[in-house]
Amino acid sequence: MIEIDGITKRYDGTAVVDNVTMTIEPRTVTVIVGTSGSGKTTLLRMINRLVEPSAGAIRLDGEDNRSMPGFELRRRIGYAIQGHGLFPHRTVAQNIATVPVLLDWDKARIDAKVAELLALFQLDPAIFAARFPHELSGGQQQRVGVARALAAEPKVLLMDEPFGALDPIIRAKAQADLLDIQKLLKTTIVLVTHDMDEAFHLADKIAVMDKGELVQYGTPAELVTNPATEFVQTLIGASERPFRLLSIETAGQAVEPGTADGKPVGAATSQRDVLSELLWTGRDALPVAAADGTLIGKVTLEGLARRAARPQ
């Protein structure tokens, strides 16, 4: 659990983060969104003390993050940034081993961890371990960047626009991979982005920052149905609202009893994608299959329309 308590950062008297208080639940994905200059990155960087706050406190599992030197704190918190920031003079394996080496793990444990992470990120250790970052594609570099952040098994992973430099197709894949890995490792992730689609796709909870202030902190659905300010409304986009609602939940959560013709959609597919499929194929309903392939019911156009409507 991360408790942010009245945190403020002033540069030359101007507050870039102004008295922000919020609590981040463990093992969740929290996304901080806002325009550039809203203070979202500064807020993130105060969690691992890359920026020291002017006032307020941040507690990790009840312990003040100033109770140890900044560098020791940062070794316990994963950190991944836009443009990956890999060390160009070190191999992929050496890059991933950065924090374990700083923590003086023994060699066998480091090697095992590196191999495990490379496999987890679908990079064959035999091929990639000895390569240098500039020999990798953008998507591979980004995966190594995240693997490095997770190497010391941190409970918390901070990510600053981690997918900002990727093209849309690789980005979608990276986002899906991140969710899988989060479920597997149970890491608490705090991610900063200005991309609302990304926020809705990844977040358990979204924090909206505007001019240094936290204007709303809630689930994606709350943000759509009950925006706290005009700014949140604009950020979400009025014409996008029904689709945002649909993109939060999966087909499995909209299943109705019965059967339908056509190719089954997976239960984990977002309702938004199912709607798109229904409209494109001109059908009223499609069957839904569970992960093991058994049919568990159908999703109807009418049912989705109801879910996309403004809650009364």
Binding site: L50, F71, R74, R75, P88, T98
Partner: protein
């Protein structure tokens, strides 16, 4: 065929240089036409090999001292506590570069007397500047995302310096050292005007006795040394730069 041609040329140059230093007599017929009737064509007031080694030693001592001081200074002024001296050190470097080497040498003589010492001081002072400037450039133009990642990974200031900043800046620092060595190799010859034992002795002896062969052999040895050392250091740099993916 083009790929190995430069290496071959270098090997040939090195072989000729070594042959000339070890047994200058072989080359006498080549230089004979340049001198008047009975003047010697090969420098005869000392061993060319010894002078070359002394020349290299002088340059090496001055360069190593310059590397230590320049890199340390550049590191200090790029730390947060030394940042105040950064603009001053930059302008000092600029001013220093306007001092001609002969002037530095001449001004060092009153303080240190004749011989090797003023030459060392002049070479040291003159060698400082390119190394300092390049180290500064190397340390201040590191990719911000890499520095951010290093801090985010929990490296201490010292770990960042030795594990990230210096290795990344190394190619640029080496380029400065290379420049400094080449300048020093040539400038060291001037040291012989204040009685330092370098290859400049050969050239000056040639100028005084109107013996072009002396001037030529002295100059060409220094030139060949400079080209070979320059190439060698360039090769090391290229390897490091490739490793660093720059």
């Amino acid at each position: 065929m083009r790929a190995w041609l430069p290496s071959l040329l270098r090997a040939v140059l090195l072989a000729i240089l070594l042959a000339f230093l070890i047994s200058p007599g072989w080359f006498e017929p080549l230089l004979k036409p340049l001198v008047q009737d009975n003047a010697p064509a090969i420098y005869n007031q000392g061993s060319l090999l010894t002078l070359t080694l002394l020349h290299l030693r002088t340059v090496a001592i001055a360069t190593i001292a310059a590397i230590i001081v320049a890199v340390t200074l550049a590191i200090l002024v790029t730390r947060s506590f030394g940042a105040e001296f950064l603009p001053l050190s930059r302008s000092l470097v600029n001013v220093g570069q306007t001092f001609p080497p002969v002037a530095v040498l001449a001004l060092a003589v009153p303080a240190l007397g004749f011989g090797e010492k003023p030459t060392l001081v002049a070479l040291f002072l003159y060698g400082l500047l390119p190394i300092f400037e390049n180290t500064l450039t190397g340390l201040t133009t590191l990719p911000p995302s890499v520095m951010e990642a290093a801090r985010g990974a929990g490296m201490t200031d010292r770990q960042r310096l030795f594990k990230v900043e210096l290795p990344l800046a190394m190619p640029v620092i080496l380029a400065g050292i290379r420049l400094s060595v080449v300048i020093s190799l040539a400038t060291a010859t001037i040291g012989s005007t204040v009685a330092a034992k370098t290859l400049g002795e050969v050239i000056i002896a040639g100028l005084q006795s109107n013996n072009i062969a002396f001037v030529l052999q002295g100059g060409l040895i220094v030139g060949a040394l400079a080209v070979l050392i320059y190439d060698g250091l360039s090769a090391i740099e290229a390897v490091l730069a490739r490793r660093a993916g720059l």
